[in-house]
């Protein structure tokens, strides 16, 4: 699995992501500047967390219109794997690669704390090292993680099994149906708000995020 991490100006969890990917794959991921247009050779494109373009206007809005996005759309069309975490998830929805939108947290405050996530399906390349229904710990750090989609879209996500994770305890950001992450219809794109990449080293208190990267490494 050759992975690349896309870096937009203002992204700030690219190093965390690189550490997690390297830990599982044994190779340093390629760092892709947002003005690059060639993603050939990559199996997995990761859009990490942060505040691309300051999250000014709307989270992810400006990044979703950045030069590299055309190549990311091509990568998706080729059936390549894409992981978007936090700002990365917001960017993927803004780019139309995943449904819905991420609104301001219901309490209108930034939320930085651990969040327990329930695995909704364990037969995808991202989640196959978890069990269906398993609850794992992850780090939440966002101001705009309130997942929104209209009822028809939500019903479709549920009906087609495209919900990846739900908040297992409190749904603090107010997400519709407690959705914390969603898949694309071909299950090759995953967007999620919490950060599995910050929970891969026992020194940080927990390694619950590691199976996600181990699973990708084995793909």
């Amino acid at each position: 699995m050759k992975a690349g991490i896309v870096v937009f100006p203002g992204i700030n969890r690219e190093r965390d992501m690189a550490i997690a990917l390297e830990l599982s794959t044994g190779v340093k991921p390629r760092m892709v500047w947002h003005k690059e247009t060639d993603l050939s050779g990559l199996d997995l494109v990761v859009i990490p967390g942060g505040f691309s373009f300051g999250d000014y206007l709307r989270c992810g809005a400006m990044a979703a219109r950045s030069p590299v996005m055309a190549a990311i759309h091509d990568h998706a069309a080729r059936g390549g794997y894409i992981l978007g975490v936090c700002n990365g998830f917001q960017i993927l929805t803004e780019a139309g690669l995943l449904p819905g939108a991420l609104l301001r947290n219901a309490g209108l405050r930034f939320l930085s704390m651990d969040a327990n996530l329930r695995v909704e399906r364990a037969d995808t390349v991202f989640t196959r090292q978890y069990q269906k229904g398993q609850v794992f710990r992850s780090v939440m750090a966002h101001g705009d993680g309130n997942f929104f989609a209209d009822t028809a879209t939500l019903d479709r996500l549920d009906g087609e099994g495209l919900v990846a994770f739900r908040y297992a305890d409190d749904n603090l950001n107010g997400s519709a149906r407690a959705i914390a992450g969603v898949f694309s219809p071909n299950l090759r794109i995953l967007g999620m708000m919490p950060h599995p990449e910050d929970m891969v080293d026992p020194l940080m208190g927990c390694t619950d995020g590691k199976p996600l990267f181990d699973a990708l490494a084995a793909a």
């Binding site: 997690a20 405050r109 020194l203």
Partner: protein
């Protein structure tokens, strides 16, 4: 626009008659308006340290591991593995009172620049906050704005906010304190300084464009508030953390090349202080052409350019043959890059604008003849040491514990730190609340830094010398309590009007106490900041020498937190006499702020701490918490609440009243949890360290020696109530 320079303007600019006279002598003529602006900000209290410098000199600043002490943008210490930690603390008190969100946000932005300007990648932010009485409706608004501002900026730039402290006291009603600290890391051989050099070398401006923001901010930071200051306020600076993030990345990228001769952030007094200091330190001259300064507004005058405090800007001197390399990097990051001058050998700062020379000042006298005062001091009179036997306990242990852990000064700060991204970077080993000091690992290494901020202002008011000593000792203790070796401190001296002898007396005494502690604990001061005139309508704040401490752990895995695991013995290290003077028990339960604060015995402090650290590193101590505000029982309750594990506590010694034993604030103590108290106590005895077994952990309840039982769950509920109840419903205030 340009006004006549005379005595009246001098007064308005905060210079007295004698200082004005000195300007005339140096210039040999009446200075131009722009020149006079330069003098007034450089000679403001904020930039010149005119009241504090004579005292600051008493602080110990040297140790074998200190690479750069005070005098640079930030302090630099060697931490092993060829790396240096670069850190400093800085205040943004006045701006945070006027506009809490932006004041706090730009405070964070400013201190970040002081650190990455030296070549460091910032890896952690901390803060030290003091607010007024929670019952004052304004306090709530200020707290909300400051917390959002710190988070808004720090979260966006992607530097984890890992620690800090908050106190409330009516003395801060009209004058909150917002002190921000940043810690960064650089290779010891890649540290960048600000002394300009190289005749003809280009002076380069990078970052954001200049507007009319915060003109005379440095002067404002040196003035008291009165009822009108909200009307007179100059344009508030708005922070742009996105641009700061770009600036960090662009500067670090440039610093990996050999292009930079000198670099300095534009902080207080912006272009003036950065250019004057760079040229002054290098003993050279500097010529600026303001026509080339990127401007955000039209029609700006030379005076405005020189005094603007627009944020997210840096000034550099480059090697002439590396201009293109540098420009390419800043283009890549979409940041302004402009050559605005060059280095000369005139020893003067010459400022051109629109074909005219707007300022031409000799640098040596501007710097060397800056006013310096040994202001009169009046010692704070000593308070009596209270006899605990004479202080009645009407409440009992259970009631007092519940009240104390719920009070604003001791309740959970989770509401605050839940708004700060504390994990970005993926290296945060001990997050806020988990340990006495935050622990942040260095990427790719086993090594970690321990970080803390500390000060107990009520002790400082009662006895500034003991309080200054205590603040340093507590920082040292907090680093020790996670297993770190304390290395050095930064400080932020927040005081009232230095022209009042009693305030200057507080300042001098606090420095004396700090110096003694730094000396005894091998814990030098490597950077800091002074904020004076923290008064509103003549009422001063509590003297607040905030200390930012930094220590190192060879192996992050050895760090311990406060979380109490079951089936361990609980032991207090250090002697307990039951000191109630200035304790929180006395204030919250006894209803008075009274008596002498607890003294610090520095020899004992060091011995106790060295012993505790050795036992943490040997793996014997599984949890450790220093005993501070609220005494032993509060410390144990905090350990229990962190893990959810309770404890059964035994009786206290007969010769000390119960409330004094359990809530007294004697210094130099730690609560430790160990598998076997007997062997631990034996080792302590051998080392001459007093210890006492207090109980055993386990279960879900805290059973007190008087028989009272409290479930840890209900303690937690009490502990977490204050902030949520106080703040909920305030969300509409959200800016941005």
């Amino acid at each position: 626009m340009e006004r006549d320079v005379n005595q009246a303007l001098a007064r308005e600019f905060g210079l007295n008659a004698e200082e004005y006279q000195r300007v005339l002598t140096i210039m040999g003529r009446t200075p131009s308006f722009t020149e006079f602006g330069v003098f007034s900000v450089m000679w403001s209290e904020h930039c010149s340290y005119k009241s504090s410098r004579v005292w600051l000199k008493q602080l110990p600043t040297k140790a074998p591991w200190v690479i750069h002490g005070p005098g640079e943008n930030a302090g630099v210490v060697a931490i092993g593995d060829g790396l240096a930690a670069i850190f400093k603390m800085e205040s943004h008190n006045h701006p945070s009172f006027i506009e809490p969100y932006q004041g706090a946000a730009t405070g964070v932005g400013g201190i970040l620049r002081d650190v990455f300007t030296m070549g460091a990648r910032p890896i952690a932010n901390l803060n030290a906050l003091r607010f007024g009485n929670p019952n004052n409706p304004r306090t709530r608004r200020i707290v909300d704005g400051v917390v959002r501002g710190i988070g808004g900026y720090g979260n966006c730039v992607g530097v984890p906010t890992v620690g800090g402290e908050i106190n409330f006291h009516p003395a801060y009603d009209g004058n909150p304190l917002v002190n921000a600290m940043t810690v960064g890391i650089a290779p010891v051989d890649r540290i960048f300084l600000s002394a300009a050099a190289g005749l003809g070398n280009p002076v380069v401006y990078v970052g954001s464009k200049t507007g009319r923001d915060g003109i005379h901010g440095a002067t404002m930071a040196s003035a008291e508030f009165d009822a009108n200051s909200e009307e007179k306020r100059p344009t508030v600076q708005v922070g742009d953390p996105f641009t700061e993030k770009l600036l960090i990345e662009a500067c670090l990228e440039l610093m990996a090349t050999d292009a930079i001769v000198a670099i300095q952030d534009m902080g207080a007094a912006g272009l003036t202080s950065s250019s004057v200091e760079m040229a002054g330190k290098g003993g050279v001259g500097i010529e600026l052409n303001l026509d080339n300064v990127p401007a955000r507004e039209i029609g700006m005058t030379a005076y405005e350019f020189m005094l603007s405090e627009s944020q997210e800007r840096m000034l550099m001197v480059l090697r002439p043959d590396r201009e293109d390399v540098a420009r390419a990097i800043f283009d890549k990051w979409d940041l302004d890059f402009a050559i605005i001058g060059h280095i000369t050998d005139t020893g003067r700062i010459t400022v051109r604008h629109q074909g005219e020379i707007k300022a031409d000042i000799p640098l040596a006298p501007l710097n060397d003849q800056a006013p310096l005062y040994t202001r009169p001091t009046l010692e704070t009179s000593k308070k009596e040491a209270l006899n605990p036997a004479r202080i009645e306990d009407r409440v009992g242990l259970t009631g007092a514990l519940r009240t104390l852990i719920a009070c604003p000064d001791l309740c959970s700060r989770a509401w605050v730190w839940d708004q700060y991204d504390s994990t970005v970077g993926g290296q945060t080993v001990k997050r806020p609340g988990a340990a006495d000091a935050a622990v942040v690992k260095l990427e790719g290494l086993k090594r970690a830094l321990a970080l803390t901020t500390d000060c107990t202002p009520r002790y400082c008011l009662a006895d500034p010398e003991a309080g200054g000593m205590q603040a340093v000792a507590e920082a040292w203790r907090n680093l020790t309590a996670v297993g770190a070796r304390p290395l050095a401190i930064t400080d932020n001296m927040n005081f009232g009007n230095p022209e009042k002898p009693e305030i200057m007396g507080q300042f001098a005494a606090a420095i004396r106490g700090m110096a003694a502690a730094c000396e005894a604990l091998d814990f030098p001061v490597v950077s800091g900041n002074v904020s004076l005139y923290n008064e509103t309508e003549g009422r001063g704040i509590l003297p607040t020498p905030a200390i930012g401490g930094l220590g190192v752990l060879e192996d992050a895995a050895q760090a311990v937190g406060i979380s109490l695991a079951p089936w361990l013995d609980i032991v207090v290290v250090g002697a307990t006499k039951g000191w109630l003077g200035q304790s929180l028990w006395l204030r919250e339960i006894g209803g008075r702020e009274d008596g002498a604060p607890p003294p610090v015995d520095l020899t004992v402090e060091r011995a106790n701490g060295d012993f505790v650290r050795s036992r943490i590193l040997s793996g014997e101590i599984r949890a450790c918490h220093d005993v501070a505000d609220g005494g032993i029982l509060v410390a144990i309750a905090e350990m229990a609440m962190e893990s959810g594990t309770g404890a059964r506590l035994s009786a206290h010694p007969r010769d000390i009243p119960g409330h004094a034993f359990w809530f007294g604030e004697d210094q130099g103590r730690y609560i430790v949890a160990v598998p076997d108290h007997a062997s631990f106590i034996r080792a302590a005895e051998a080392a001459g360290i007093p210890t006492m077994k207090l109980g055993t952990s386990g279960g879900g309840d805290l059973t007190l020696p008087d028989g009272g039982t409290i479930s840890v769950e209900s303690l937690r509920a009490d502990h977490q109530r204050f902030f949520k109840a106080w703040m909920d419903g305030d969300a509409a205030e959200n800016r941005s």
